[in-house]
Amino acid sequence: MRTFKIAICEDDRDQNEHINYMIKKSCIFLSSEHQKFEISNTFYSYESIFQFINSSSKLPDIYFLDIQLSSKPDDKNGIELANLIRNKQKTAQIIFITTHDELTLLTFEYQIEALDYIVKSNEEAKIQTKITQDLEKSAYKLEEFLEKKNNIFTYQIGNNFYRVNTDDIYYISTTPFPHRLKIIAKNEISEFTGDIKNIQDKIPSFIKVSQSYLVNMKNITSINLKKRLILFPTGEEIQFAFSAKRKIKEYLMAD
């Protein structure tokens, strides 16, 4: 049986208690013999949860975060907190608790990849349904993440993580800058930090055809073994190293 742990961070005591109560209700409703939901941690300030995340090795799976954790506008807020959690824990499921004028949808969706947001209002029933749905969705996503992990390539730029489907990648190559790689995919041209050697360990299905190119052989347009040329759907053509010829041939045979 899998247990999903939930953390709550809300600085207002009354509201904290209230949301705690509502989440507990949803937990009871959702728990079955296969899965269990429980609130493992409750926080009342940015500092306390910050400390916890940085020191604890056992982190919760699902977070409910208030956005405005202080009345001063320049203080750290829930969004910064969420980004921090996301960096520590890629699988964290984050749900924001917000008032209407704090809504920043793009930031929620793309920067934090928040699961959902709950707008504080008086419509109790609606909020209760939303919490239940969000917990269900979180559990599903967490399970899915375990299964799908292999098909997604994650790369990092500073504090940010980006994901691309491995099947969409054409190739990954080095750039004139050291430790900077380039990724060319069906709908994407990106640069990120990394070493081509480590990348190959992450995606063993790709073939390192030369010092600087790691190629997804599934997506090439054509190959010329005599001239040692690989053509990509982008129209680019690269020459592969003599030493890679055997590996490439093996791949083609196996196909």
Binding site: E80, L106, T107, Y110, Q111, G158, P176, I189, S190, T193
Partner: protein, 419 residues
Amino acid sequence: MFAIFTYLLFLFSYSYQLLIFYKLNQYRLGSIKDILKIIIILVISIMILDFIIGQAIFLILVIFFYSKKSQLSKIVSTILFANLITYAADLFIRLIGLSFPIITSYFVPIAVTYYVLVYFLIKRVKLYQLFIKEKNYLLLGLIVYAFIALHIIGLISMKANQDLTGILITALLLFIQFLFMIYAFYIQNKLFDRRLEDRLNKERENNLKSYLKNLEYSEEKLRRFKHDYRNMLISLRNAIKEDDNDILINKLDRYSENELDQENFEEYKDLIRVKDLQVKSILISKINEIDRNNIKFSFECATKIDNLDKLVNPFDLSRIIGIAFDNAIEESKNNQIGEINAYIFQNGKTFTFEIRNKIKNIPQLSKIQQTGFSTKKNHQGLGLSNINQLKQKYPTLFVNYRINNNWFIFTLNIVGVDE
């Protein structure tokens, strides 16, 4: 004994040239491949004891190993420049030594001082900036000319045994002339940058003024609203007494709807968190432009944005943001489904700017980055290649292009260097 000394001298000369070459191209020793390249170049060059052929082979090897399609002129300029600087010291000390034999015994310390000085000077004035522009044929021409001239003088001086003072003076003058030209180039570059800076400063001022006006306007509106609302509450109280509140409540609703739900200022409200004036200014100006073009738009900034000048030159940053906005605006103008969303975010040492616009036809991503290509039929295509050029200045600046469900997404990430 003498042979070993010559080898060492050659080795030093070639290594120094490579060092300057790396500095000017802002390369850093990264992989084993790099080190291998250098070893191959050095070994082959040293094996050839003939000075002229050795030099030629060395230059050819470097150009061969490092040139890429688009960067040939840059590679040639930088390696020839490195060669010139190195060779000049050798030549002049030798020539002066012939006239004043006493100098010869100080050959090594003088040369070392010269090389160290030149290295730090190049580092100090950030000379690499001079070579960033691709296909700078004027600069290339100048360097090639000086290179040929200096080597011819070197050849003559080696063959001729007569009075060398004339040759020395000519060579010195020529070299000084060359240095002066390089200096002129450098200053011109600087002046250009400064002019650009001035222009951006002026722009910034104008943008902030219009932002201020906008703020004042909304403040004024708020005051009016307060006033109206108070009146309305008084009427409401009277109406309750007189029992015909339906009409008045309707009126109040209508008024609130009109005045409260206006989203005029919505796009600007997050700008309060942007403390960096240069970025704030470019955002204001572009949001204004989007407003004027009646394009559906949203802008978000959920974190404080500050201290960006530690990561990147603010002018370069605002140019990149400006170009990204221009492209999005150009694409969304006269486009039925046109829509632009943007957000900025700063967390710890990472700064993120993302802008996405709806597109009608999906462009070929691979072509977008190339010089001169544009998703639009007319001009503008220079934009993204300009970004590519600015990007070269910073190893910490990352640009991503993605297409996702009819959205073209441009992301800029600047990663702080750990101190």
